[in-house]
Symmetry: C2
Subunit: 122 residues, 2 copies
């Protein structure tokens, strides 16, 4: 039931922009909870990297006096990877094309992360 | 001489926007080369965290099929930290307020990173 709800949130997120190519809900220890990833990506490695980035991002934000972490963005030559906390022990990762409008992606990811947070609370 | 050039680039960068509060040029092993940081920040820890973020960002970009790394952004509740490669074994870090206009910051950081890259090549 919860998996179906998470899948529905990811479907809606991926459908919100043609620039969003993949998304996944991941536990903070790097395990995939549910995902809409292309088969070219290795789920185990993607989960581990995203969890590590968010964890290091939290420490970096504190160390630089920027308070609690909101999101981490990796800007690659061929697109973006965005990671956001989505409640206790849970994070959301989104992969986009390089043509993505960042403002819109930040916005859509925030909405999806809030929805995931609500499911986890229940 | 090179330190003076780097300092001049950082001064220009910090002066380009009232939202930029600090900047530093750091080696990829986490040592500060030159910085304009507030005294509230611990240089050693800031250098180590920024270098670790950029290194993990490079691996994440590859793992997610986004090609070479351009920049890493940490969005905290109280502002942004941006890290960009600035040539061989060198990175640039910028710390901004939460009111910063991200598009402008990306642009200014790119210009500064390119200038630092040129100094390193010489």
């Amino acid at each position: 039931m919860r998996e179906r709800q998470l899948n529905s949130i990811l479907s809606e997120l991926n459908g919100s922009s043609a620039d969003i190519q993949a998304s996944a809900v991941i536990s903070t220890d790097g395990l995939i909870l549910t995902s809409l990833l292309p088969t070219t990506l290795d789920e185990d490695r993607v989960g581990a990297m995203a969890a590590a980035m968010l964890s290091l991002g939290e420490r970096t934000s504190e160390e630089f006096g920027r308070g609690g972490l909101d999101q981490v963005l990796v800007k690659g030559v061929e697109g973006y990877i965005l990671m956001a906390s989505a409640g206790l022990n849970t994070l959301l990762t989104v992969v986009t094309k390089s043509t993505a409008k960042l403002g819109m992606i930040f916005f859509e990811v925030k909405i999806a992360a809030d929805s995931i947070r609500k499911i986890n609370i229940v």
